[in-house]
Symmetry: C2
Subunit: 322 residues, 2 copies
């Protein structure tokens, strides 16, 4: 019998908190150890309605279940009073293929596992004693990325930049209810870069927002907005000039992520091999080597994160039921 988990139930079982960090870390470690079967992302564009559906899947060898996820993004939905993202996850028995559960999470678990990946990136790559954080963008991930960063670092001030300054104000108002730090609505990104030691980009931009010259020594950048060929948040020069570039999954970032633009511009050889996030988690000395290093984590979103969080959700659901 297939269990059906509904949105409200899932939100109750899986609040965004620190306990999820080791769950997602394990997924990345398995990915880097080639203990996974992860086919390329399936993508279906519904151009007439400015919509897309993506399917991700990952089987982690040795685990009794795996997930296939459908993620939906419809960018005109907010004008119709609907959320722009949605979807579900399907959990299958690894040994028999029987469908154990359907998680009708409407994209919530994707939001959560993406936010946790950001926390993991900063945990392993940023300096410990950071003062200020810069958030580029003001959407759902701008909120969740900051919330999860607070699990691993203690910034004093958060600089926020959004294309629409009113949205940045609204973001600050919302986040002040949740997090006790100073907030500054930053009028330009250059100023934000000057003041912050961690930069988190969360936009669907298709032109670089952060210029190479603006990035100071010691900065860590988590770029999580680029999950499609045309998206690009970071000046490709930064990828070439930084001390440590870390993809979540390099076979994906050469197609979808920031790396892809650096390769296309001839700044990086397409065969160059970088340490993936899972390798850094497993051996943190492969990441930041000095306080002055500039580090970048390029997050495109991987099926192992989905399988990790879907399994965890289901396990908690079952143990609550018993």
């Amino acid at each position: 019998m297939t269990d059906i988990l509904h949105y409200n139930e899932i939100k109750k079982i899986i609040p965004l908190n620190k306990s999820l960090i080791p769950i997602i870390e394990e997924g990345f470690i398995n990915l880097s150890k080639n203990k996974t079967v992860t086919p390329p992302i399936m993508r279906l564009d519904i151009e007439e309605f400015y919509g897309e559906a993506d399917v991700k899947a990952a089987y982690i060898k040795g685990l009794d279940s795996f997930a296939i996820k459908i993620a939906v993004g419809y960018f005109n939905n907010p004008s119709k009073g609907l959320p722009s993202s949605g979807g579900l996850m399907v959990l299958l028995n690894s040994e028999t293929g029987v469908i154990k559960a359907i998680l009708l999470d409407q994209g919530y678990l994707t939001d959560v596992r993406t936010a946790i990946a950001g926390a993991i990136a900063s945990k392993y790559l940023s300096n410990l004693d950071i003062e200020n954080v810069g958030i580029i963008g003001s959407g759902m991930q701008a909120q969740l990325q900051l919330e999860s960063l607070m699990m691993v670092r203690n910034p004093k001030t958060v600089y926020v930049w959004a294309r629409d300054q009113a949205k940045a104000d609204k973001y600050i108002k919302t986040m002040k209810m949740k997090i006790n730090v100073n907030f500054i609505n930053s009028k330009n990104i250059q100023e934000l870069c000057k003041n912050c030691q961690i930069l988190i980009t969360t936009t669907p931009s298709d032109k670089p927002l952060i210029k190479n010259d603006w990035v100071k020594k010691g900065t860590h950048i988590t770029a999580m907005g680029s999950d499609a060929e045309h998206k690009n948040e970071i000046d490709p020069l930064i990828i070439r000039n930084c001390d440590s570039y870390v993809p979540d999954k390099q076979s994906q970032t050469i197609i979808l992520g920031e790396l892809h633009h650096a390769i296309k511009n001839g700044l990086i050889n397409k065969d160059k091999k970088f340490n993936e996030l899972g390798e850094i988690i497993n051996n943190p000395t492969l990441g930041r080597k000095s306080n002055d290093d500039i580090t970048i984590c390029d997050l495109t979103g991987t099926g192992v994160q989905d399988t990790a969080i879907a399994r965890h959700t289901y396990n908690l659901f079952i143990s609550n039921k018993i």
Copy 2:
């Protein structure tokens, strides 16, 4: 609110019958008119357990919903008392991406739409006045293909070949309860080819079962077993020598189907363009030109069939509810 349709309900709403032929035909026509967005199949192999999960999807322009299907095949399942195939379909709103329904069909709708595609192939490509049909294989599709062939042709005798003759006997016993024709357990495929005007292959064979020399003038072959790179039921020479080779979707049969082996063996130029099944449905004169023609339909299974049957199932479900 997402509707959840369960297996028994779906079987009740969608019995295998003639009314499904125009539904699936319309899907093929849309496919051939490039009115669809159909990404390549996603495939996940779980080698340790001799299992696989495939994802197919198709959006048909102008329709208010589209389906994404997860199909599961675990070939050791029968030894555990479980069916070897399973899966589900997800129906999404084309305009908003909202998930309208989940069809927990356990692979039933795939079985049905595959069988109906076989009926469509014989309807448009075989001679009208056939006497005998040869069924190669004795599994679920061997049953369903014959049942749906009876919707479009009236054979007197059905020759059955299976690697295990006891299974052919069991097949005949089962089918005699459903269909009033003569059955012959054919000891060899050459004899079967000699006697039959329609041949339907339904096996997971990885070596050709039907030799070129055995195929008589006027024969129509529906090959539906080959849905993976290594599968191959038909001598590639037949593909070269036949009068009309018809793929369900050529961009798929060059990778998965019988055509792929003919190309690999240098018998067919990889750039040669064939009329797809949807083009034949739309203009039957493109298919069989004389009673002596040898025709082949290569069915690898397409997302448009899934979207067509998922939409039809959901529409019937809703109209029953009202």
